[in-house]
């Protein structure tokens, strides 16, 4: 296993806690808006690190470009759907939770 592979594994391992904390946030946060915060932000960074880790292990530049493109597309999809879910919740007059 060469040096680049090790960097790759390190980055992928680094990305996993973000996915975990996104899910923890989803379970622990009180309302739809705060849960969206947890999901979009944590997963975006988690996926970014995993993509970066995989890019270090890729055999060709085409694979690297493909990985980056996947990250970008997921980023667009997740921020757009996050906004749509939140705006639908606002339309339905779901009040954001606020600390007592």
């Amino acid at each position: 296993m060469d040096f680049l592979d090790k960097i790759g594994i390190f980055l992928i391992t680094l990305g996993l806690p973000f996915f975990l904390s996104g899910t923890v946030g989803l379970l622990r946060f009180p309302d739809i808006y705060t849960r969206l915060h947890a999901l979009t932000k944590a997963d975006n960074v988690g996926l970014g690190l995993i993509i970066l880790g995989l890019a270090f292990q890729a055999d060709s530049w085409l694979i690297v470009a493909r990985l980056l493109l996947i990250w970008l597309l997921v980023l667009i999809a997740s921020s757009a759907s996050c906004h749509l879910v939140a705006s639908r919740a606002m339309q339905n007059k779901i009040k954001p939770w606020s600390s007592p």
Binding site: V24, D31, Y33, G48, H83, M90
Partner: protein, 173 residues
């Protein structure tokens, strides 16, 4: 808005061709040069071109290259910070949140810049765009004690630079 477009719009053929090539390139990168993949890819690209023409007939805005170069590091840094921020709040013994809504009025024009703005807000630390009505954005923040307004304004100015939009005074008519 409409008056501006007529002077800058390029012919339909050119627009279709440009979008087709752009989307075909995306398919090529995603699926490789496998010829059989185009059985699905070609219709998908054509449908995407059609939908893009229906949703945004004109591409009215141009990108500034230096704007893009300064935006990418800013975005990567901010979105990593937002990941750490949410992680810390989610894993705290008592979830560390103090959410609230913040109204914001943007000077960014309708279309690509405003959509880009609203989507990027959701990836910055502590903010999430909850609603968009005209130029009024309702931002949901996970912590009312954060400097939300400054964060959003910084983002707004960077996006203006990215899309070559002048400062707010010049945009007002």
């Amino acid at each position: 808005m409409a008056d501006n477009n007529t002077t800058r719009q390029s012919p339909l053929v050119r627009r279709v061709l440009r979008r087709f090539l752009f989307l075909a390139l995306i398919w090529l990168v995603l699926c490789g040069s496998e010829q059989a993949s185009w059985i699905l890819g070609l219709p998908a690209v054509l449908i995407a071109v059609l939908i893009s023409l229906m949703l945004a007939p004109y591409s009215e805005f141009s990108f500034s290259f230096s704007g893009l170069c300064s935006f990418i590091p800013f975005f990567l840094r901010q979105s990593s910070l937002s990941g750490f921020d949410v992680m810390r709040r989610a894993l705290a013994v008592q979830p560390d949140i103090n959410p609230g809504l913040v109204p914001y009025t943007t000077f960014l024009p309708q279309g690509a810049p405003r959509i880009f703005f609203v989507n990027t807000i959701s990836l910055l630390p502590g903010t999430l765009s909850a609603e968009l009505h005209g130029n009024e954005v309702t931002v949901h923040t996970i912590d009312k004690d954060l400097a939300i307004w400054a964060t959003i304004q910084n983002l707004e100015l960077r996006i203006a630079y990215l899309f070559r939009i002048g400062p707010p005074v010049e945009v007002k008519k």
